[in-house]
């Protein structure tokens, strides 16, 4: 009965009401993951569950039993930033920073989805591959709201990482 959080086992809480979000923040003291709406509408609580982006506010901690969670704290490699974190800095992909951990986790998984062939609502040819365009990124990142309106920087940051990965 444990959840691997950034490589460390955290026991599953006895009370099944505890959300994954509360487990991360209140019990594992990993406060990088943010509480926005607590009802699935903002994306601030986005983490990676077995590598896929999910909302930790709508995930019960028990549902993550035996699985592995990566939060913003676990994305980078010790002292080194993850390339997506660096790209957000390079492109001013934030202002107040509240939505940022969720944006960055979502962006990392989003590029994997795109490269893995998952289509989006704006993919013109569903039989083909989606391409890394600003339009695709905006649609695929629409689950992460930013009240500061940092979206242009966010899209540029993601485009940069996609380009680096392709190189």
């Amino acid at each position: 009965m444990a959840i691997s959080v950034n490589g460390t086992d955290i026991p599953v809480p006895d009370d099944p009401r505890v959300s994954l979000l509360d487990l991360l923040r209140e019990r594992a003291h990993l406060t990088g993951t943010k509480v926005g709406c607590n009802q699935g509408a903002c994306g601030a609580c986005t983490v990676l569950l077995d590598g896929e982006r999910v909302l930790s506010c709508l995930t019960l901690a028990v549902q993550a039993d035996g699985r592995s969670v990566t939060t913003i704290e676990g994305l980078g490699d010790g002292a080194a930033l993850h390339p997506m974190q660096q790209a957000f800095i390079d492109h001013d992909g934030f202002q107040c920073g509240y939505c940022t951990p969720g944006q960055i986790c979502a962006a990392v998984a989003m590029l994997r989805e795109l490269q893995g062939g998952v289509p989006s609502y704006v993919t013109a040819d569903l039989a083909g591959q989606g391409t890394v365009t600003a339009e695709e990124i905006r649609e695929r990142m629409s689950g992460n709201l930013c009240r500061c309106g940092a979206h242009n920087g966010i899209v540029e940051a993601i485009l940069q990482v996609a380009k680096e990965q392709a190189a």
Partner: protein, 328 residues
């Protein structure tokens, strides 16, 4: 959230057995149920995790597809056979919610997601006959922009929120159910009940029945299909009106047509009257408008949602024109 215990179903039979017990509710991705529990709308005493139900998508002997109930929405939308044979289904799923939610949500959970009506979701301060039968309906005189214009009743005008199900109903999907008395199959078009006097009863499922799979028939016309969703922002918002359509045209006339609407009714709305009226004729603006007038003849729009009459017919014209390559 009221306290509950957590269990995992180990097989479909186990899930059906547990589902029949007092206070037990099934948990798919939890994206709707967990939210409703937190809001105090739902109060299960036990949650039964059913994500171990089938997540397979397999071709049937007839040439259709059988989709396991626990298949995640993303996996269904991304499946190669769905994208090429039933693009309307991929597009509809991708029009819904966000990528994070689609990664979590299951097919069965999507079908059984509950109303997004603000009053249904507000037990502290609002009246809602669906949530508390007999308490009244605050939507009729209140904020009803997202509510039904057809198929509602004096008791309830909540619209069904699913995008995926609009495509499924256009595709004549069948719902596979399993209960204590055995398995049965119900067309999705007959699965939902209109609210009438009992808006709290939303489907024909018997107590304790569970969804085990969805089946799509072979449907060549679906290879030419699309889904268009009109909403208050470009993405990550529920539909005001949405249209699922499959169409084929020969010599300028519609030879096959499937048409369904979301956002306008308490269930995904298959537009059989409009289909009948349009078949055998050309796709023109006049023809689609006339067919939609027939389809929506019994509409009862309210102050906040009367715009949907016009929006539905214009969106239908746009989708059919795109699909058939004519400029209506």
């Amino acid at each position: 959230m009221t306290p509950f215990t957590f269990a995992r179903a180990t097989s479909p039979e186990d899930a059906a057995r547990l589902a029949a017990l007092e206070g037990h509710r099934l948990l798919g991705g939890g994206t709707n149920l967990v939210d409703l529990m937190r809001k105090g709308v739902e109060h299960p005493t036990t949650l039964v995790d059913v994500t171990a139900l089938s997540t397979e998508i397999i071709e049937t002997a007839r040439g259709g597809l059988l989709i396991g109930a626990a298949t995640r929405n993303t996996a269904l939308a991304a499946h190669p056979l769905v994208r090429t044979r039933y693009p309307v289904l991929s597009r509809a799923i991708l029009a819904g919610a966000s990528a994070q939610i689609r990664n979590m949500a299951t097919v069965a959970g999507n079908i059984l997601q509950r109303s997004r009506c603000a009053y249904f979701n507000d037990p502290a301060a609002s009246r809602c006959n669906k949530r508390a039968p007999g308490s009244g309906c605050d939507a009729r005189e209140g904020f009803n922009r997202y509510h039904a214009i057809i198929g509602g009743s004096p008791a309830c005008i909540s619209a069904h929120p699913s995008d995926m199900c609009v495509a499924l109903v256009a595709l004549d999907a069948q719902v596979h159910l399993l209960g204590m008395t055995g398995a049965r199959t119900v067309p999705l078009a007959e699965f939902y009940r209109l609210p009438g006097d009992t808006p709290q009863i939303e489907t024909v499922m018997a107590p304790g029945e569970i969804i085990t799979a969805i089946e799509l028939p072979p449907l060549p016309v679906a290879a030419r299909s699309d889904y268009r969703k009109v909403r208050d922002r470009a993405s990550y918002a529920f539909a005001l009106v949405s249209v699922a359509a499959c169409a084929s045209v020969q010599d300028g006339v519609l030879t096959e047509l499937r048409l369904a609407f979301g956002g306008i009714a308490p269930k995904p709305w298959r537009a059989l009257h409009a289909e009948q009226a349009l078949l055998g004729g050309p796709v023109t603006r006049e023809a689609v408008f006339a067919a939609m007038d027939l389809e929506l003849a019994e509409a009862a729009p309210l102050a906040g949602n009367a715009f949907k009459l016009e929006l539905a017919r214009r969106t239908a014209v746009a989708v059919l024109a795109d699909l058939t390559g004519v400029t209506a």
